[in-house]
């Protein structure tokens, strides 16, 4: 499993990742959530061996092995879907899969089986022979994901896989990630979309300015850092918002004072957690 042990990485004066520690658990979708510049992509790049930590250690370890991310054996066990669509546009989707499959040592019928499976996974079987430049943005995103799993890796790293896609394609990607989890894969999923992390991730690490602000399951994070929910009520005087940890009690109090025409309770969610932990200042 992937282990970050007090890992730091600097680019000049910028400390992109600062003393980051976590361990992936078997079969989980692990979210790396953070605003722009939080250090998510730097962490991913260290996980796959593209960058070396300045301090600390990134390794893949369990009872049987302890490997460096650059280890060739290790690279066979992980798949990366980069943030940008990383495909050869001039060749077909199937040929992209074939090419990357060969790089991972697949040959012959094994390769063809995996190509077919991945096209099916990405719902691209019918257009597998078309050149990628003819694909829609959503299709390219799905293929980008499929290429990451052509060699059936144990760990799949998805770096903001839904950037720039329409809601239908996004939903399709969510389903694929859930499929991976159901198939027993470990998934590291970076995003700055709260609803994605809330829907998909078993545990979420919230990063800000390279530091790990919190790490837990989504309910536990909300419990710990969500704060009170919001009760929104509409009366004859208009709409008002009330922070509360006891929505029913607060509603009763308000009704006692004035007739409430309409109310809605907004419980704390991951976005609340995120804003509470990272603040509301804009990040550039």
């Amino acid at each position: 499993m992937l282990v970050f042990d007090h890992v730091s990485k600097c680019f000049g004066d910028l400390r992109a990742v600062d003393d980051l520690s976590f361990e992936l658990e078997a079969g989980e979708v692990f979210g790396l959530l953070g605003p722009n510049g939080a250090g998510k992509t730097t962490a991913i790049n260290m996980a796959v061996g593209l960058l070396e930590p300045d301090e600390g250690v990134v390794r893949f370890a369990d009872e049987a092995f302890d490997r460096d991310p650059r280890d060739a054996e290790n690279r066979r066990s992980l798949g990366l879907a980069p943030q940008s669509i990383a495909l050869y546009e001039q060749i077909s989707g199937a040929d992209n899969l074939r090419f990357f499959g060969r790089l991972h040592g697949l040959r012959g019928s094994d390769l063809e089986e995996r190509v077919a499976a991945c096209l099916d996974f990405a719902d691209l079987t019918d257009v597998g022979k078309k050149v990628v430049s003819k694909y829609s943005g959503g299709m390219q995103r799905r293929l980008n994901l499929a290429v990451a799993i052509i060699h059936d890796p144990e760990l799949v790293l998805l770096d903001e896989p839904t950037v720039g896609v329409d809601p239908q394609s996004r939903n399709a990607i969510f389903e694929r990630v859930e499929q991976l989890r159901d198939g027993g894969k470990q998934v590291v999923y970076t995003t700055h979309y709260m609803e994605e992390a809330q829907r998909l991730c078993d545990r979420v690490a919230i990063l800000d300015r390279g530091r790990l602000m919190a790490l837990d399951t989504v309910p536990a994070l909300i419990e710990a850092h969500g704060g009170p929910g919001n009760l929104v009520v509409r009366t004859g005087d208009g709409e008002s918002r009330h922070e509360t940890t006891d929505p029913l009690g607060t509603l009763a109090e308000l009704q006692a004072r004035q007739a409430v025409d309409h109310f809605q309770y907004l419980p704390p969610d991951l976005e609340t957690v995120f804003l509470n932990l990272t603040g509301r200042a804009l990040r550039d």
Binding site: L78, L80, P82, S84, A86, L87, Y88, L103, H104
Partner: protein, 426 residues
């Protein structure tokens, strides 16, 4: 108007922020200015000395006098070596022209009434411009010889006497023979008659109405050894060079393209080493340039009747040329981080080197230091190897030098490029 100015100012601002744009706007034209300036400065100091080899097959006082005149006239750097070696030198591309003064040259020079001096010019087919200039210098020297003859009454009289004796020996006497003797009597009076008629300025520099002062037979070196000349043999060698240049520039962009498209990241994450990745790039470039240059010469052979003098040596030249340009491709990849930069830098470097290598401007027009500098141009050695195998008739030992230089450039450039290649993925 303000909006137009604002947009124009923005474009200028962006241009100067773009290092590549700045390079092509300022530095590339500056390089061209320096290149042509240096070249024309050399020319303005006097005619460039064209290296020729000269064989005096006549070996008379007249031919010696003519050679001396050529040497003092300037414009030619004359080397005198035995005939076979001289021809080999032109064939190898080391000298543009071989001038041979044929037997009887001196006698004809001293007796222009009877014969025209004959010269043979064996020309490197890629050096026609140089050959044209050499022809001009030869004619000028021969014209000067004739003028000197015409202006020297004692030489004219001596020659006349000699001719008179020859004519008088013809028997039996005839009207034609008598007419010839009458004409001979009038010849010494020609300068005086010109003066009397006031035609001195008009006839100055003229050859006196004897026709061209020199008979020049021009041949191409391969024609002497290999049968009919085919101009496609030279043009296809040059076209193959351009294929290599285009191929290396295109491939230099491929790493930048992989970087910008994100596929480099995927490749680096795959279980392959950086060396394997570089080897694959090199192999692809080698394969593509070998294929395109081979396809081109195959077309030349099958359609345009180009007949290589040695197929094995041609294969060797193709391989060495491709190895060289694979190395160059790797260096260009290092310099150009983006696709546009790689393409721009590629052509920005390739064009001056091609010029220095004589691919665009004849080398003899360049000052000596530029010609020496041209030795570092891989284009020069590639052309030499291609031409050596296609029409110069190089032997294996003659082919070794250009091929060794090409392989050395390729290996050094590839190593330098591979060492300095930045693997950043974004």
């Amino acid at each position: 108007m303000n909006k137009i100015v604002a947009m124009a100012a923005k474009d200028i601002h962006i241009l100067f922020r773009d290092k590549l744009g700045f390079f092509f706007t300022i530095f590339f034209p500056l390089m061209m200015a320096i290149f042509f300036g240096a070249m024309f400065a050399g020319l303005s100091r006097g005619p460039a000395s064209i290296p020729i080899v000269l064989v005096d097959a006549d070996r008379t006082a007249g031919s010696a006098r003519f050679v001396e005149r050529l040497e003092t006239a300037g414009g030619l750097a004359i080397e005198r070596i035995p005939g076979d070696q001289a021809l080999e030198q032109v064939r190898r591309g080391q000298t543009a022209v071989l001038v041979t003064l044929r037997p009887g040259f001196g006698a004809a020079l001293d007796n222009p009434f009877v014969a025209t001096p004959e010269v043979e010019m064996s020309v490197d087919p890629t050096q026609f411009a140089a050959a044209g200039m050499v022809r001009g210098v030869l004619l000028e020297a021969a014209g000067a010889e004739l003028q000197a003859f015409m202006g020297d009454p004692s030489r004219m009289s001596a020659t006349n006497e000699q001719n008179r004796r020859l004519i008088e020996q013809v028997t039996p006497p005839s009207t034609a023979r008598d007419d010839l003797l009458t004409v001979l009597d009038q010849i010494p009076r020609i300068p005086a008659l010109i003066d009397e008629a006031g035609l001195g300025s008009v006839t100055a520099g003229a050859t006196g109405g004897f026709g061209p002062p020199l008979e020049i037979e021009q041949t191409q070196v391969q024609a002497q050894r290999r049968g009919p000349t085919n101009s496609y043999a030279t043009s296809f060698a040059q076209a193959m060079l351009w294929t290599l240049i285009g191929g290396s520039v295109s491939f230099s962009m491929s790493i930048a393209i992989e970087r910008s498209r994100g596929t480099l990241m995927r490749l680096l994450v795959a279980p392959i080493t950086a060396r394997q990745l570089l080897a694959a790039k090199g192999l692809a470039c080698l394969g593509a340039t070998l294929f395109t240059s081979s396809a081109l010469i195959t077309l030349g052979i099958t359609v345009f009747d180009v007949t290589p003098t040695s197929y094995p040596l041609l294969a060797l030249a193709l391989l060495c040329g491709s190895i060289c340009f694979c190395g160059i491709m790797m260096v260009l990849s290092v310099i150009g981080k983006t696709e546009q930069a790689a393409a721009g830098v590629g052509w920005g470097i390739a064009l001056p080197f091609t010029m220095l290598g004589g691919g665009m401007v004849p080398l003899f027009l360049m000052p000596e230091w530029m010609q020496t500098l041209g030795n570092i141009s891989p284009m020069k050695w590639t052309l030499m190897a291609y031409e050596g195998a296609i029409w110069r008739g190089f032997t294996l030992s003659e082919m070794l030098l250009p091929c060794a230089v090409l392989v050395a450039i390729g290996v050094v450039a590839f190593t330098l490029g591979a060492r300095n290649l930045r693997w950043e993925t974004g």
